[in-house]
């Protein structure tokens, strides 16, 4: 009899969905996620557009809020919360922004463009990373570190910042740029204290027309690294947000930008952005 039970169990196991069960903390959302959420109140028209724009599907995001898109404690709703920030959160000031929404959307969204070839947004339960880009199957994965509210990057700004970072790895893949052999970065050196380091190809405000962030001239004068694109996005959220953006989102973005600008660059630190006053 016990052999029959084991065989039945094995048969059920084989027939089970192939989707992985989430291991992220699904018990709550960070204050910044909740505050941005309350600013749109779970806007259906947006997420019904967003899942296509970011090429997400129910197989990948099952058990992570795909069928519960207004439950802000789950990963898929948190993902589209960050996409909402990218799509609507910036004022796009020609005089003060590093880049425009058009640049950040093209970097984060799935569609093929001058910025990268088509990719799909997927979740991952891999520990030890924030996110990753896989050139072999063209997927941009985001991990629990971006969703668990206790973690420093589990806020809409940092999560969207990771879309920029990984999207820029896709840019490097599209154009064949070599950013180093340590997971697409360079080993610890210079002023970088992290294990994966980039160069900061400094440029001023107005150096790139909105929509032209993908351009380069093959020299250090006109180029971007993944961490740099991430810092510039976070600085634009901190310094040039729409007036309705919650303060908690601004504060978290500034904190991520300034820590990253100091820790991640061989020729750092990058500039300090955000209000120099604590609040």
């Amino acid at each position: 009899m016990w052999i029959v039970r084991i065989l039945c169990a094995l048969a059920l196991l084989a027939a089970a969905p192939t989707t992985a069960w989430a291991i992220c903390d699904q018990s709550g959302a960070s204050q910044a996620d909740g505050d941005l959420w309350d600013a749109h109140g779970c806007w259906p028209e947006f997420f019904l557009w967003q899942y296509r724009a970011y090429d997400m599907n129910g197989n990948d995001w099952a058990n992570r809020g795909w069928n519960d898109a207004c439950n802000r404690n789950l990963e898929y709703p948190k993902h589209w919360n960050a996409a909402y920030l990218v799509t609507y959160g910036l004022i796009d000031s020609n005089d003060q922004s590093f880049h425009g929404t058009i640049d950040y959307r093209a970097t984060a969204e799935a569609r093929s463009s001058n910025f990268h070839d088509h990719f799909r947004h997927i979740p991952t339960d891999k520990a030890g990373i924030f996110g990753s880009y896989s050139p072999s199957n063209h997927t941009l994965a985001t991990s629990c570190s971006l969703y668990n509210p206790a973690r420093a990057n589990a806020n809409p700004g940092s999560r969207a910042g990771d879309f920029m970072h990984e999207g820029w790895h896709a840019y490097f893949d599209k154009y064949g740029w070599d950013n180093g052999s340590v997971g697409g970065h360079r080993a610890t050196q210079g002023n970088c204290s992290a294990k994966g380091c980039d160069y900061f190809y400094f440029h001023g405000i107005g150096a790139y027309a909105f929509g032209a962030m993908w351009e380069n001239d093959g020299t250090a004068d006109r180029f971007h690294s993944p961490n740099q694109v991430q810092v510039e996005f976070l600085c634009d959220v901190a310094d040039q947000p729409q007036p309705w953006i919650p303060n908690s989102v601004r504060v978290a973005s500034e904190n991520d930008a300034n820590t990253r600008a100091s820790d991640r660059f061989i020729n750092g630190p990058g500039y300090r952005c955000g209000d120099p006053r604590p609040w």
């Binding site: 997420f47 309705w244 904190n255 120099p276």
Partner: protein
């Protein structure tokens, strides 16, 4: 296709947020609700919140309330913990400043599961980010002890990010004076003297002014110029983590 209910439009919600009253902040018992309200309030109301905080600057009970809220949030909601440190810094109450100075020197966690690209654990990263905020808040207090602490942080805190934040915040709070630069240069590590010239974007700073500061930074520190990017044949197929 994801499932959904229907609610008010974002425009309607933004209008409400702009006009709804902020929670009171008169006693320690008000702190939790005020932290929630200040974090949720739109950035357009930042000065209103700053004024409310300054009104209770002398109230040590408010500072104690913020510290208690921070302790409750530190390990459970990082973004809330940042909001609280921001408010505590803005308060400039001696009790709050003493707490920040104690917190910023706490040892960063070692061990734990390492995040590949960082080389440290998530717990280390979480606390480092909070200490960066604390360093910014300490410099803003502008008392003799706080300013001296900011200088010491700039020179000898184990985190590069905390050192950089302390240096930039110290200079900004001292008006970038020659005397402040001279003093800071004595504390900074020899290989981190570039922090003296690091651009600090202020609220509303024009693009022209930022570009001028950036140009000066790179002119005075030519070693920061990166090498030309390199081509590769094609991607290796391996993942690129962040």
């Amino acid at each position: 296709m994801p499932r959904h209910p229907v609610g008010p439009s974002p425009a309607e919600l933004a209008g409400r947020r702009q006009s709804e009253p902020l929670p009171p902040l008169a006693q320690a018992g008000d702190v939790a609700a005020f932290v929630s309200g200040a974090g949720a309030a739109p950035v357009s109301r930042r000065e209103e919140i700053r004024a409310r905080i300054q009104r209770v600057q002398a109230d040590a009970a408010i500072a104690q309330g913020l510290i208690a809220e921070f302790r409750a949030a530190e390990k459970t909601d990082h973004s809330r913990a940042l909001v609280i440190l921001s408010l505590l810094g803005e308060l400039r109450n001696p009790v709050g400043t003493a707490f920040l100075i104690d917190y910023v020197w706490k040892p960063l966690p070692t061990g734990g599961e390492i995040i590949a690209e960082l080389g440290v654990s998530a717990e280390h990263e979480d606390m480092e980010r909070l200490q960066v905020k604390a360093a910014n808040a300490i410099a803003y207090a502008r008392t003799e002890e706080a300013s001296r602490t900011a200088l010491e942080l700039a020179g000898r805190h184990p985190s590069r990010a905390v050192r950089a934040e302390a240096a930039s915040s110290y200079l900004w709070n001292q008006g970038g004076s020659d005397e402040a630069r001279r003093l800071l240069s004595q504390y900074l590590r020899r290989d981190e003297q570039a922090l003296l010239d690091r651009p600090v974007r202020d609220v509303g700073m024009s693009g022209e002014e930022f570009n001028r500061l950036l140009g000066l930074y790179l002119k005075r520190n030519p070693q920061l110029r990166p090498p030309a990017p390199q081509r590769t044949r094609k991607a290796s197929g391996s993942e690129r983590p962040s």
